[in-house]
Point group: C2
Chain length 110, copies 2
Amino acid sequence: MKNEKRFRLERAGWVVGDATQFLNLDPREVQFLELKLALAGGVRQLRESHGLSQAALARQIGSSQSRVAKMEAADGSVTLDLMVRSLLVIGATPGDIAKLIRRADKGQAA
Amino acid sequence: MKNEKRFRLERAGWVVGDATQFLNLDPREVQFLELKLALAGGVRQLRESHGLSQAALARQIGSSQSRVAKMEAADGSVTLDLMVRSLLVIGATPGDIAKLIRRADKGQAA
DNA sequence: TTGGAGTATGTCATAATTGACATAGGCGTG
DNA sequence: CACGCCTATGTCAATTATGACATACTCCAA
């Protein structure tokens, strides 16, 4: 519960520009963030390519527009579970999701 | 919050052999479960290949042995977040994780 | 300007997950 | 057998995520 907790806290601060804070970040957490960003981008891409509004997608996944917005913003309050579930509902296959995650390797998130 | 809720409930029952229940399951949820199983298998594989006990891994990720056990059992009470974080801590790259997820396409979970 | 559609952001009660702990079972060794 | 190590399973208080709601903002068309 060390990095775990710190991560939760930092999601509020978002001192991304601050080099000190940034360098203090465990590389694992950075990878995790990039992975989340990749999935977030995938959700938006898939949603838009289907001509859906955030509200429409929210209906399909049994959530709300605000949560979809937070999800696409990779907000710290949304879990990978929600993102993955959403992707599957929009029609992404596990293979598609794998492809998105691979992008986190190159740092190309969206 | 429809399938979402049903899924949460069924994690307790685990009537996997029951065809009626099984067929009632939304295919999306099945995909999600397979994806989780794939990651769970990946955690166990990685952990064992590193010669770590569940307790040892638990220490590294700041969790407990019981949670690692549940995680490897793809227990309904563990999130993808925890699984992915664990994988990253053991040394898996996003690419490795993507590879695991791809297995969910073929149904080959472990 | 006015209005509607889409999106972003914040808050809240409720629901879910978390680590910790207890405990039981398996399995090999002394 | 008894002991230690590993794993499985259940429970619980505390923490966190969730959907719903309110509200503000941008575009764009009438």
